[in-house]
């Protein structure tokens, strides 16, 4: 197997002893299954990006997808809310069930699906509009709020839940793009929360942030876990260990191993997982 060179691996080469697995989190009993993926294959044109991935994602917990760049973890994440539909030439086979319903079923409208499965991207991408408009956009297009007062309430609640309210309460009508990177990412999380999703997908949400902003987001993820099912793609194994209860390791488009985070980091079954988490990837 060709060796996979990746900067982020070098960057994350932390000795395993330093990865403090939060046992309290990691050993918590997993909730009922929210997302059930079976034999998922994804093709970009002729190139196959995912091979027969089967994974269960429990409710009210954080599931981390780890693995080297190009291993298919983002592809898998984007299949859950059908963001891959927007890529020309992308084909998804297999079943991904959300509460037992196949998301790729013809009866499922991707618009409704994406309201149920929110997404936060790698680079903070607020709309070039005001902070208020950023959060209010989702509820508005889905017709969730019936009036102005209700909309304002939703915006406030979402910003509070995203831990941003205190910082922006007095400047709701200033552009969201004027915030710092970490604030922008929390604004984007507030925007996702505003439509009351069941699942929040996060694609390397902290990779563009400094350590302090990262810590703030991680705290937030931990708080949100009580209400949402969260799936996070991360390059930082330390982050996976800190925030997740379940971890899935992807390599070259295949799901190598998945299990409770504590087990994956302390007692991986597969040698590739072992090599990756110890930074000795070959």
């Amino acid at each position: 197997m060709p060796s996979q060179r990746d900067d982020s691996i070098a960057h994350d080469t932390v000795a395993p002893v330093h990865i403090a697995v939060d046992r309290a989190h990691a050993s918590q009993p997993a909730g009922p299954i929210k997302i059930r993926a079976r034999d998922v294959n994804v093709f970009y044109g002729d190139k196959q990006a995912l091979f027969d991935v089967s994974l269960d994602v429990p409710e009210n917990s954080v599931t981390a997808l780890i693995g080297p760049s190009g291993c298919g973890k983002s592809t898998f994440l984007r299949s859950i809310n059908r963001m891959n539909d927007t890529i020309p030439g992308c084909k998804v086979t297999g079943r991904i069930e959300l509460d037992g319903e196949d998301v790729n079923d013809r009866s499922i409208d991707p618009v409704v699906l994406r309201a149920r499965v929110g997404m936060v991207f790698q680079k903070p991408n607020p709309f070039p509009k005001t902070i208020f408009e950023n959060v209010a956009y989702g509820p508005r297009i889905h017709g969730i709020a019936t009036g102005k007062a209700e909309l304002e309430e939703i915006v406030e609640r979402s910003l509070k839940r995203a831990g941003l309210w205190a910082e922006v309460a007095d400047r709701l009508h200033q552009p969201g793009t004027g915030l710092s990177g970490g604030q922008q990412q929390r604004l984007v999380i507030a925007r996702a929360i505003a439509v009351s999703p069941e699942v929040i997908l996060m694609d390397e949400p902290c990779s563009a942030l400094d350590p302090i902003a990262t810590a703030r987001i991680e705290e937030l993820i931990d708080e949100l876990r009580n209400q949402y099912c969260i799936v996070i793609v991360t390059h930082s194994m330390a982050q996976a260990a800190r925030v997740s209860q379940k971890t899935a390791f992807f390599h070259l488009g295949k799901l190598v191993e998945a299990g409770p985070t504590g087990e994956i980091f302390t007692n991986p079954r597969d040698s590739r997982t072992q090599d990756y988490i110890t930074g000795r990837f070959g």
Partner: protein, 429 residues
Amino acid sequence: MTDAAIPTAASLRQTVEARLKKRHAQEMRFRLYGRMAIIVALCFLALLLGRIVTQGYSTFVDYRIAVPVYLDPARIDKADPTGANYDMLVAQSILTKLGEQDDDLGEKSGKVMEIMSNDLGFQLLKMVREDPSLIGKTITVTGPVKSDAALYFKGQIKRSTPQDSRKLDDQQLDWMDKLKASGAVTSGFNVSFLTNSDSTEPEQAGVLGAIVGSAMMLLVTAVLAVPIGVLAATYLEEFAPKNRWTDIIEVNINNLAAVPSIVYGLLGLAVFSNWLAVPRSSPLLGGLVLALMALPTIIIATRSALKAVPPSIREAALGVGASRTQTVFHHVLPLAMPGVMTGAILSLAHALGETAPLLMIGMISFVPGVPEGFTGAATVLPVQVFIWENASERGFHERTAAAIIVLLVFMIIMNLAAILVRRRFERRW
């Protein structure tokens, strides 16, 4: 490899320094070429603008003559005031003012008519027709002098030229000097150039009809080409599947942008005029043809503006559950708007200056008034320039340059508008 092949630090620096001079010289040379190119371009621009302005500015000064005319009841029939020869009345009044006596053949008054505009006679006719009680009274009319006379005042017809080679003889020049000295002839800003339409007499010809015609035609073009172009581009860029068909369409649109404009004129003549029976030489027909011509440019500009919108914005909107249409119309298109508007305004400015296709659809006709609606006969600024340039009278040539100045002013206004729109709508993210 031996050690000798590896250069020492000192010799390496020497090699680099030797080449450094050459590299600097290269850069200097390139900068010099750039400056020279800009200077040459500026020279030509100055030459072009300078020539237009020096030729045309004199149009904006006009010479007007004021004459008291006795409306002799013996020569104007009260029952039929239109039958009288008002030009003769004016000419004779001018002769009286000059202290000259007309001969029996009316030779002198004929010569006076060569230096005053027949506009004065028309004015009298109009006044008398409206109010016949004026007959028997003396009223003062003011109107332009004949364009040749104006050219003399402006120094473009010179006394030093032999009498046979100029349009006005010495006696006429003497009269004009006398009239000017007496204060009967005054000069001022030529308002009538901007308030009159085309005329067979250069001193009465103006650009109002052409300006209104251009505005109406451009309105038709804008109303058709901008929405259709922007929406077509949006569909092609954001919704259409990327396959061989859309590739063919894209190639064709790019090619259409390069099709000579006269071909669009032929197309318009065949389809709109002959087949759909849109009235010829109307602003509607001209607008339709120019809309066809502007469409490819607007589509190309819009597509590149849409391409420049970062994909993260699309993902953000789709991620919160916006449909494709909502994503495009709430986020992508508004962000592309500065580019779209700039492209649209520039292609409309281009359409404003277009002449060839309009000649094909019969816009070259002489239209002595403001167009009567979108289906009435009209002329437009660039075509007016073309018509005047082809006229034989010298007075029209001056007006050609002046009409070009007016056209250029409109172009500059549109280009400034494009810049302002761009600044106004530009958003940062």
